[in-house]
């Protein structure tokens, strides 16, 4: 198993996540897809860590996870507020910035 496979897998996961962000309407689904993208990046870091035989990549992955946690917490709080104010979870309805 070489690093190339890992990277391809990671790229695939990333693009799937990106497509998901654009395609899905529910805000929580979008968050899920964002988590997917973050994980794809984690995989890239891990692959390179193994390839270059350094632990720095893994430390970075650790920090990414922490940030993902914090971001999930705050993001979900925002989703709750959106639902409370607009009675909807569809991100299309949050269009007050429309011209």
């Amino acid at each position: 198993m070489n690093i190339f496979h890992c990277l391809i897998l990671s790229a695939a996961l990333f693009t799937i996540g990106t497509i998901g962000v654009i395609v899905r309407k529910n805000i929580i689904s979008i968050f899920l897809c964002i988590e997917l993208m973050l994980n794809a990046v984690n995989l890239t870091f891990m692959a390179f860590s193994k390839y270059l035989n350094q632990v720095n990549g893994q430390v970075f992955v650790f920090f990414i996870m922490v940030v993902a946690a914090a971001e999930a917490a705050v993001g979900l709080a925002i989703a709750i507020v959106l639902h409370k104010n607009r009675k909807t979870l569809s991100v299309d309805d949050a269009n007050l910035m429309k011209w």
């Binding site: 654009i22 395609v23 991100v91 949050a94 269009n95 910035m97 011209w99």
Partner: protein, 645 residues
């Protein structure tokens, strides 16, 4: 006195400024005093200056008074310089003298007007401009005066500015003048290009002193071009064909204005200019031919129109156009001094005729239609007597002033080898006496046709109006004696001799040597023709007034043509005015200004607006589309990296 030439124009200018700025608060006597006093003072200084001029020997009668250097740019120098020589002396005396008399007349004529101070301010301003014109020593200053008199003409014609016809007439005068001025300006530019100077003395001595460079031109040379361009300006200012149409309309102005500006002084500026530039004109037979042709045809045409007009001032206006034609064709046959002589005598009797007409109008309470006058002889004796004198003078009956000048012109035409011009001139003289006496008979003789308004019977004018009439009448009687022709064996023509120094650079037109006594015969012929005109007028308007109406009815078509002034105004309107107006409105205004200029400015704004509308669709508030745009940008960068590998 020679150093104080500049006072002559300056005094009326100061009078104009005083009256114009403060006149609203001045009492009427003060306004009159300032206005007439300044012109009177100018007249006195002018007389003194001319006296001093006469004390000099003839060859030295050429005095220059430099005020200041106006423009000094490279090799172009234009000074504010006044020239006093016999020609300008003659014009000076006429302008200040007749001008003074008319100012005095206006005191009485305009006394009931609200804008009394305005009238005198404009009139004084006119005097200033006219004096600058006749006294100037170079083309540039003359042009300043030229434009100034045009401006004052506009102001004074439109004096009754609340009357639509008066305002229109003022505009017409100014615009038609301007058309002539284009030619004048082009002529001045051409002169400068050829001579590198605009000074009269420098240019004319240059021409006469360099016959190789400025020969008598057989074809179309520089002098011909200059002459024709200058003459175009003269046709505008002096109301010749084709730019005469403003003068009849100018009768909308007050009668003193018609007398001063449109009879005695402003319209003669063109003649003065042609004679002043005689050095140029005399060396170009083509130009002289043009001048003579236009002059004599204008004289004939205007006289025919004047035969049937019913407004007293219109008759006099066409008469002025006709007499100006005489002056021009005099210049055209080379008789420059005769033209100036006729200018002087014409100033006397035409001013008198206009002032007299004003007196008549004043007498019957504002009526101007000849058909509604009649039998005024017993009500206005002084006016009648003086107008009769003027009519005899203009008809060319000896010993009144007009006989000598008109005879001199006709004789010069014959002797110069232009028999057709002579015949036309003679016929016009007959027409002149006819229509002038028609005017006299219709106004003063016959049955009383004027409306009896409740106010009062017709009355004679006050002394302030009749004194100038008497003065001008006297001048019309004796004024001709300064230019008694040589054939009368009373000595040489004094007037011609006096003007010689001014015409020193003019080439003398060769004329056939007449047989002695021939002139006498020609003089008798002209007097007979004039008397015939008077007799016919007498028959048609005094003896048998109905005969004139019958004649008009039987010759209906020609009569109508003359009454409508050959439809010239209508033709101009259709051919020139309407296309210009329509062109301006449709093409220049709607087409260019609104569509192109406004369109491009508005179009730029609309374009920005449209671009904004297009771009605003990006801001649709949709988070997902924002994400898509971000992704698109990232993909573009990725594409770039991929392709560069």
């Amino acid at each position: 006195m020679m150093d104080y030439l500049w006072l002559i124009p300056l005094l009326p200018l100061m009078g104009s400024a005083l009256n114009g700025i403060f006149g609203k608060r001045f009492p009427k006597p003060l306004i009159s005093a300032i206005a007439c006093g300044s012109v009177g003072a100018s007249f006195i200084i002018a007389v003194a200056a001319v006296t001093r001029l006469l004390a000099l020997p003839p060859v030295e009668r050429h005095v220059i008074d430099t005020m200041f250097t106006w423009i000094a740019s490279g090799d172009f120098v234009a000074k504010a310089e006044f020239l006093l020589d016999p020609l300008s002396a003659v014009m000076l005396l006429v302008v200040t003298g007749v001008g003074f008399l008319i100012h005095v007349y206006s005191i009485g004529y305009m006394h009931a007007e609200d804008g009394y101070y305005r009238f005198f301010a404009y009139l004084n301003l006119f005097m200033f401009s006219m004096l600058v014109l006749v006294l100037s020593a170079n083309f540039l200053l003359m042009f300043v005066g030229w434009e100034g008199v045009g401006l004052c003409s506009y102001l004074l014609i439109g004096y009754y500015f609340d009357r639509r016809t008066a305002a229109d007439a003022g505009k017409k005068a100014f615009i038609v003048n301007r058309i002539g001025d284009v030619g004048f300006i082009l002529g001045i530019l051409l002169i400068f290009a050829t001579f590198r100077s605009l000074d009269f003395t420098a240019i004319f001595s240059n021409i006469s002193g360099d016959p190789s460079r400025f020969p008598v031109e057989t074809g179309f040379g520089i002098l011909t071009a200059v002459g024709i361009l200058l003459f175009v300006g003269a046709t505008g200012k002096s109301a010749q064909i084709p730019l005469y149409v403003w003068l009849p309309d100018a009768m909308e102005g007050p009668t003193p204005v018609s007398a001063l500006i449109h009879a005695a002084t402003m319209v003669t500026a063109g003649v003065y200019m042609v004679v002043r530039c005689s050095a140029i004109f005399s060396r170009s037979p083509i130009t002289l031919g043009v001048v003579a042709f236009i002059g004599v045809s204008t004289a004939l045409m205007a006289a025919t129109i004047g035969l049937v007009q019913t407004d007293i001032k219109r008759v006099l206006a066409y008469s002025t156009v006709s007499q100006l034609g005489y002056m021009f064709f005099a210049a055209g046959v080379g008789a420059f001094s005769a033209g100036i002589f006729h200018l002087v005598t014409h100033a006397f009797f035409k001013a008198l005729l206009f002032l007299g007409a004003g007196s008549v109008i004043h007498a019957i309470g504002g009526e101007q239609d000849l058909m509604r006058m009649g039998g005024l002889r017993k009500f206005t004796p002084t006016t009648h007597a003086t107008m009769l004198i003027a009519a005899l003078a203009i008809s060319g009956i000896p010993p009144f002033a007009g006989f000598f000048s008109k005879d001199e012109i006709l004789w010069s035409a014959w002797v110069g080898g232009h028999p057709i011009v002579w015949i036309v001139g003679l016929a016009t003289a007959g027409l002149t006496s006819f229509y002038m006496f028609r005017l006299i008979f219709l106004a003063f003789y016959g049955s009383e046709r004027f409306p009896e308004n409740a106010r009062q019977h017709p009355h004679e004018s006050p002394p302030s109006m009749t004194m100038p009439l008497i003065a001008l009448g006297a001048l019309s009687i004796v004024g001709g004696f300064v230019g008694v022709s040589a054939w009368m064996r009373l000595g040489p023509n004094q007037f011609e001799k006096f003007l010689e120094p001014s015409l020193e650079f003019t080439r003398t037109i060769q004329s056939a040597n007449p047989a002695p006594g021939q002139e006498f015969i020609f003089a008798v012929i002209s007097v007979c023709v004039a008397s015939l005109g008077i007799y016919l007028a007498y028959r048609l308007y005094v003896v048998n007034p109905a005969a004139s109406d019958n004649l008009a009815r039987r010759m209906h078509a020609p009569y109508s043509l003359l009454l409508h002034k050959y439809y010239v105004d209508e033709v101009y309107d259709a051919a020139i005015v309407k296309p210009v107006v329509v062109g301006s409105r449709e093409f220049l205004w709607r087409g260019i200004d609104v569509d192109v200029i406004d369109g491009s400015v508005n179009g730029a704004a609309t374009m920005v607006q449209n671009a904004g509308s297009l771009l605003k669709n990006i801001q649709n508030g949709l988070v997902r589309s924002y994400a898509t745009w971000i992704l698109a940008g990232a993909v573009l960068i990725l594409l770039y990296i991929t392709l560069s590998q």
